[in-house]
């Protein structure tokens, strides 16, 4: 089990409509009930991070339409994870697969109104999508009337209730008690919000059937997934893999580690660290990584070299996450900087009280915001303390380690420079 080529079957460059159809074949004339049935049986789950069963979501939205009017389909291509580039890669290489998925999902739930959300600064993605939509219009293909919506480039802007609020003409901020989108979302209509990769898988599952979909992966994690592999691996990048492979096999997909590893950050900045000896045998799937104490998230895996400082790396990301708080909720606004400061103190100065401070603050931050942003940040910070226990002792007994001299491994967008470095 290693790389797979379903979503990536058309190769590394842009697949226009002709290439797309030659590779995947035409869209079948499936009726709505059949689409939902196939997606249900395929076992497809959301690839945006939540891993919710896609078939169940389709059913909920289709069912809601009897009460409050024709549903809306929203494809989320915003890629909130700063270290992830799989949605962007898919949007640039295989937009027709995503547009097929949107059209099929719309047919399944009875929607006319279809939107595709991308970040406003990704001008190349927007240009590619315009071209793909143009090709569809010329060919009279379904999904030609999908509307491209640009979203402000901020982390929590792509959170579900923030997207719905933006699409309803409001600011792209999370809501405290949003109505459930499948009941009352965009324009008060039942709204299906799915990640773009999920919709691309849906397009193939409907073409080839549930059994075909399940022929890759494992019974409890069927299919393939796009992953972003980065850090100290030979060939960092976006790959498509069969779910259920081991951590060691996953690293081999990117050419393997280029030096001995200390740990792997799983699931991106909403995820958790796993020490390399615990990562190697872990199964790469939502359940497998959960069992190992981490998360699959949006499929980001970053390999940290043995000579890097895991505490300092995490402190930088924690500062970034603190700056990305929408600043609406007290515990998030105050708690994230406090956690980031404590971790920075530990990494930079060997602050002995930091671990206790973090342990005592964490319960006051997790679960106390309107959205899950603070929960993810807390998970990351606390996983650093548990997985880098040796470093922790070293830092508090002998001060900052040599790893601080290495260039940072975890990418943090430039926006974080707005955060004062409280060192």
């Amino acid at each position: 089990m290693s790389t797979a080529h379903r979503l990536t079957a058309t190769g590394p460059s842009y697949a226009d409509l002709a290439v797309h159809l030659r590779c995947h074949g035409p869209l079948p004339a499936a009726d709505p009930a059949w689409i939902i049935e196939v997606v249900d049986r395929s076992g497809l789950t959301g690839r945006g991070g939540a891993a919710f069963p896609t078939g169940r979501k389709l059913r909920a939205v289709a069912g809601g339409s009897r009460r409050s009017g024709a549903p809306v389909v929203v494809a989320n291509g915003c890629e909130g994870e700063p270290a992830s580039s799989k949605d962007r890669t898919l949007l640039l290489k295989a937009p027709h697969l995503i547009l097929d998925g949107i059209a099929l999902a719309a047919r399944a739930v009875g929607a006319q109104d279809m939107r595709l959300c991308v970040h406003e600064d990704q001008t190349d993605v927007i240009r590619t999508l315009r071209q793909a939509l143009g090709e569809r219009r010329a060919a009279g293909a379904p999904g030609a009337d999908v509307e491209i919506v640009t979203v402000p480039d901020r982390y929590v802007a792509s959170e579900e209730s923030a997207l719905v609020q933006l699409l309803n003409g409001g600011p792209a901020l999370p809501l405290a008690t949003p109505p459930r989108p499948f009941e009352k979302g965009v324009r008060g209509r039942p709204t299906l919000i799915d990640n773009v990769e999920t919709l691309a898988h849906l397009a193939l599952a409907v073409r080839h059937g549930a059994d075909w979909f399940r022929s890759a992966g494992t019974p409890d994690a069927p299919g393939t997934a796009l992953v972003t592999l980065g850090g100290a691996v030979a060939v960092p990048g976006v790959y498509e893999v069969e779910l259920g492979l081991s951590g060691a096999e996953l690293l081999a997909v990117a050419g393997g580690p280029v030096e001995p590893l200390r740990a792997v950050l799983c699931g991106g900045y909403f995820g958790a660290w796993l020490r390399s000896d615990r990562f190697a045998p872990a199964r790469i799937s939502a359940r497998g990584l959960q069992n190992a104490g981490a998360a699959m998230g949006a499929g980001v895996f970053l390999a940290l070299p043995a000579t890097s400082c895991g505490l300092a790396e995490t402190a930088r990301v924690a500062r970034y996450l603190a700056a990305q708080s929408a600043g609406q909720c007290g515990p998030c606004l105050n708690g994230l900087p406090a956690l980031a400061d404590a971790l920075t103190g530990l990494a930079m100065r060997g602050d002995r009280k930091a671990a206790t401070t973090i342990a005592s603050l964490a319960p006051y931050v997790a679960g106390r915001g309107a959205c899950r942003h603070p929960d993810g940040a807390v998970r990351l910070v606390t996983s650093a303390l548990s997985e880098f226990g040796d470093d922790l002792r070293l830092h508090t007994s002998r001060g900052p380690c040599a790893g601080l001299r290495r260039a940072p491994i975890l990418p943090v967008p430039a926006a974080s420079s707005r955060v004062p470095e409280r060192v």
């Binding site: 809501l175 405290a176 008690t177 609406q328 909720c329 007290g330 515990p331 998030c332 105050n334 708690g335 406090a338 603050l361 319960p363 006051y364 679960g367 106390r368 915001g369 309107a370």
Partner: protein, 72 residues
């Protein structure tokens, strides 16, 4: 912090609206705690009948209507 099992009325805060002045904490210290920044920490458990008046007082005292009592 949100795990209480028993059913009954519960206090809920809208974390976006709450300004953390803590009037609710003063009104209902028996069950509403204070976090390190002054925001209310609500009980996970249902409000027992003999403390309902206090819970209602906490809801009434909030200047920004951030606090409410829910049925379940």
């Amino acid at each position: 912090m949100r795990k209480g099992k028993d059913s009954g009325p519960r206090l809920r805060v809208d974390p976006i609206a709450c300004e953390g002045h803590g009037l609710c904490i003063e009104a209902f210290p028996e069950m509403v705690g204070r976090d390190p920044w002054g925001y209310p920490v609500l009980p996970a458990d249902a409000i027992p009948p003999h403390l309902m008046r206090h819970a209602q007082r906490a809801v009434a005292v909030c200047p920004v209507l951030a606090l409410r009592l829910t049925k379940t």
